[in-house]
Amino acid sequence: MTLKTKLFATTSALLIASTGALYADGHATHPVTGETLASDQTFTYRDLDESPSIDPGIAEDSAGGDILRDLFEGLYNQDATGNLVPGVALSHDVSEDGMTYTFNLRDNAKWSNGDTVTAGDFEYAWKRAASPELASPYSWFIELMALENASEVIAGDVDPSELGVTAIDDTTLEVRLTQPLPYFPQMLTHFTTFPVHQATVEEFGSDWTKPGNMVSNGAYVLTEHVPQEKLVRERNEMYWDNENTIIETVTSLVINDENVALTRYLAGELDRTDVPAGQFPRLAAEYPDQAVSVPLSCSYYYLFNLRDNAPEEIQNADVRKALSLAIDRDIIVDNVLAGGQKAAYTFTHWATAGFETPDIPMASMTQAERNAMAVELMEGAGYGPDNPLEIDLVYNTSESHKSVAVAISQMWKQTLGVETTLANQEWQTFLEARSNGDFEVARGGWCADYNEASTFLDLMQSDSGYNDSKYVNAEVDELLAAAKTSDNAQANYDRVEEIVAEETPIIPIYHYASVKMFAEDLEGWPFENFQQNWYSKDLYKIAE
């Protein structure tokens, strides 16, 4: 496999680089770049909230994922640009039909208690994650990986031991899929696939994730965890690549309020924090080397209710398209959000791997042309100044969603004379209303589960559980089903995006960016990694 050669090349490059690493003039230098390292190698960053779980099988949020990528190591890791690099697996082979993967594991990977990490640890972890007994909210990820019997195991029809993963021996792991998935190896950097130490889990039960109990195989070990305050992890001496780890201690602090977090960042207590909404232009001007905006794999959109209970006017595709055309997305991203977000005319995020944004006609028009077309469509549908369209727009309570909604309702009003009633709802209430179809237009946000366009477009499938519009189009369903096994999925994705732009079950508004402050002495951050999957072991601090 080409992947195998590439992985090998990366590993040897690292090995060669690390030999020239050590001390020069009494100061440690970075093995690759030669920069002088700071004597204090601690990394402290802000998390918005306490993660629901730090058990790899149960964890469900991205902040928990950041912690877990430090504490555990899966089959593969990502490098600074998001490419796969060896983790516990050195390489893999794929069968002819693309449905059986055989992973070759390194024999020098150790748990923090000294035990060897084996293929059996992965087998145990995956079967555990899928088991109804653990009842993990992320068990669906095992299903998404298309593992043999995954759905049956989760539904409780088949014993977890029947799941399509087997340790052939200590360093060989065989995985059987129900369909070929070209992006399967990409999914193996996700925390649900990380190994867990069976003896520890069995000894401590749900307390196994507490400091002192937890045995892990990543570059760091958990040393302190005070929920809602902080989580501290320190270098794992047993980690196979420990000699290349530079950061000694990583601390995540839970700071709910982003302005407080910014104050503490400016006071020097944090090395990384989030830029509060609307403050990016000011901070970028004041701290040009610290304020950074990078694409984040999420799309912001409005969705129409297309169920039978929805009002007749929004069942009309022309009306929906007119509403989409009349939104000046540049104003939203440049003036309302001002954080490096990009105007969206496709649902799939522009930076998604292997995805070329198709030429949606609307995207290349000027706003004046879009407005003219919108007015025309609206008039054709029988709405105008004398007979204005009235619609309800609902979003979940948040200042930023409110600013976007206010701006859009103004645009609709000015261009099309539409009377919009805005309503905000508390999160849980909002989710329930949206999934029950109790809305006309609602706000939506979707983040990629893996770096491939189908993670977005599958929402347009008529039987998708996440299709809250209840949009149904047989051609879209066919195109997406065919894309799973196609060599040229891009053509299918282009066509789906075109149909979606034409029929407008949703209005893509913008593609997210992650806006953050990074301490000047912190280096090695993978800005080019679209999913922002970072590993503390790759970071370092340079001397001032």
Binding site: S139, S206, L253
Partner: protein, 307 residues
């Protein structure tokens, strides 16, 4: 007295039961549930989770199971949101934090508040009075969500004297800002109540008599005026103390103290049923206990009161 205490405690049990049942009903009546998210779970995954947490049982059975496990084993169940932890874990970690900064806030609020109030009353209409009234009004109109960021700006960012947040096991540096932010508005109320109560007492006949027989002012204040002055303050202090030790979400959010206030509010947003119930019961129990304590103190201070 003893029979009064026993009677009050006997009433407390049905009160708590009503609290539990009402909270349970309100909680379930709210839209959404603990396992809803932007990305709805596939039905079979949701079924597994609901089975694990007993949410597949009929509503009445859930209440009974809950009450039985709380009463017999003192077990408040697992947290639905923080899946590695039980409600007992959450309370065991968060409550001592809140208790610590709440207790110190109480001490500060009472000592400073009462001193200000007494000083203002004794020197009524002097500069001291105006100063005390000014300070207490100022403290009252500066709510803690304004106070907290100001403190942060001054002591952390500009002066660099104090850490901007965290708890660190309750080290004093980490306590100062939370205590100031939490105690000021209580302090202001205590100062105002003390001042008006003291003024009223100083104008009564028995104080005039005491002064007429030539007692020094200091003695009049401490021996005679103090006890009746304290009574209205005391009825305020009971609920205030419970309010402080059961936490403030503002303090926890701004100073990342990890106290129970934040868990309480988050649990409501997350529909973390078991944590909502656990903390509701904790706060309910404390409120009942401290109201009882205040009533006992009343009788002790004021011989006119008999139970």
């Amino acid at each position: 007295m003893l029979s009064f205490v026993v009677r009050r405690l006997a009433v407390a049990i049905p009160t708590l039961l009503i609290l539990v049942v009402l909270s349970f009903i309100l909680m379930y009546a709210a839209p959404g549930g603990p396992f809803n998210s932007e990305r709805p779970l596939p039905p079979e995954v949701l079924a597994n989770i609901e089975a694990k947490y007993g949410l597949d049982q009929p509503f009445w059975k859930q209440i009974i199971n809950y009450v039985v496990s709380v009463v017999t084993q003192f077990d408040f169940g697992p947290s639905f949101q923080y899946k590695d932890r039980s409600v007992n874990d959450v309370i065991a970690q968060g409550f001592p934090v809140t208790l610590t900064y709440g207790f110190w806030s109480f001490v500060v609020a009472v000592t400073v508040g009462m001193s200000l109030g007494i000083a203002a009353a004794i020197k009524q209409n002097s500069w001291l009075d105006y100063l005390a009234v000014g300070v207490s009004i100022g403290a009252q109109v500066l709510p803690n969500f304004v106070m907290a960021p100001i403190l942060l700006l001054v002591f952390t960012l500009w002066l660099g004297w104090l850490p901007g947040g965290g708890w660190n096991g309750g080290q004093w540096q980490f306590l100062i800002m939370p205590v100031i932010a939490l105690s000021t508005s209580y302090m202001a109320s205590i100062a105002r109540i003390t001042r008006s109560s003291m003024l009223e007492v100083l104008n009564t006949n028995f104080i005039r008599t005491a002064r007429a027989k030539g007692l020094p002012m200091r003695r009049v204040i401490w021996r005679h005026a103090m006890k009746p002055t304290i009574l209205p303050v005391l009825s305020y202090l009971g609920p205030a103390f419970v309010g402080m030790i059961t936490g403030s979400v503002i303090i926890d959010v701004f100073f990342s103290t990890g106290g129970i206030g934040q868990f309480f509010v988050n649990s409501a947003f997350n529909r973390d049923y078991s944590v909502i119930m656990g903390i509701t019961i904790l706060v309910g129990t404390l409120t009942i206990l401290f109201n009882l304590l205040v009533d006992i103190l009343y009788a002790w201070i004021d011989p006119k009161i008999r139970y």
